[in-house]
Amino acid sequence: MSLYQLSKLLYELNRDDTLKTRFRADPRDIVSGYTLSEEEREAILRPDIGLLYVLGVNGQILMHFAALCGIEWSDYLQRMRDGVKQHGPVRAGIYAMTTSVDEKIAGA
């Protein structure tokens, strides 16, 4: 479990356009610069937004990574919900889901 490293990768990716370009060209190379578990590494590379959410990535960082991956807002929200359905409750952090997996919140 290296949520800090995982979050730091996404934080740096979100604020650095050069890193974004390098990530698009060779994501495995960028990811190798961080000490991640196999699960975390795969979650980034797929990308599996739902699993990243369940692993505890702060939503303020995750929503920009989702946008970077071209994932539209409502789809982003649904992928997190699907992630909880598939992988279980959020494991760390302060962005846990408070509603049930099949619930629809207005605005989504």
Binding site: N58, G59, A67, I94, Y95, A96, M97, T98, I105, G107
Partner: protein, 272 residues
Amino acid sequence: MSLVFSGVCSHAPGITGRAARAPADQKDALYAVFDDMRARLHAARPDAVIVIAAEHFANFFMNNMPAYALGMSESYEGPIEDPEWLAIPKRKARGDLSLSQRLISEVQQTVDVAFCEEWRFDHGIMVPLHFLDPHNELIVIPANINCQGPPLTPLHRAWAFGEALRRAADAVPERIALVGTGGISHWPATPDSGRINEAWDRDFLDRWSRGDKDAMLAYTDTETYAEGGQGGFEIRTFIAAAAAAGGKGTVHHYQPIPIFAVGCTIGTLEIV
């Protein structure tokens, strides 16, 4: 010279980025009250505006997280987000290095504030500036309270930060305005985005409007998290703005807009 304006507003990125998806009447009403807030702010003829934000990992991260920070640069750029995603074009906002240095020196008498010669604005500052300074005319001094990465600063320290900003504003010859930006209850960027606890919001705004310091500081983070979500931690910015003003608040607008993920709020405070 003195603090000449203190107000609060929401800063949710959906307010601009997902504007087209909101009910038009609700969006238009909010935008109109933002226009009104802009008129009030500019009528106070500020030489600079301090924006107390609760930023979202644009500049500060858990490798070195300040509880309180103030910008100390001649200029700042933003938004850090994709301008198309936020629907706000990039700009370079003017800062004032000398004014920042003087404000920070006075704030440091009571609050150990971090200072930052680099600061890139995220939606927490850009959404307010988009409405309150559309022509990029104002001198901006960014301030931040960590509301994202626990452990979080206690509410009574947020109050002390507001008081320190007031003392600093009163100590410089410039006319200083202050805008606190944040949400009340919200669960942003989670699957629960759009959940809003209106009753909790209205109770907080009641305490805020009365200028009731004890009531505002009575929340525990456990209670806030349960009732107001992780977004509720941003009440610190409203509390600091109230502490700086010292008087009663007026809520000009409160309307939950789920696609904006927050109860959209605009208020001003009496400077006492």
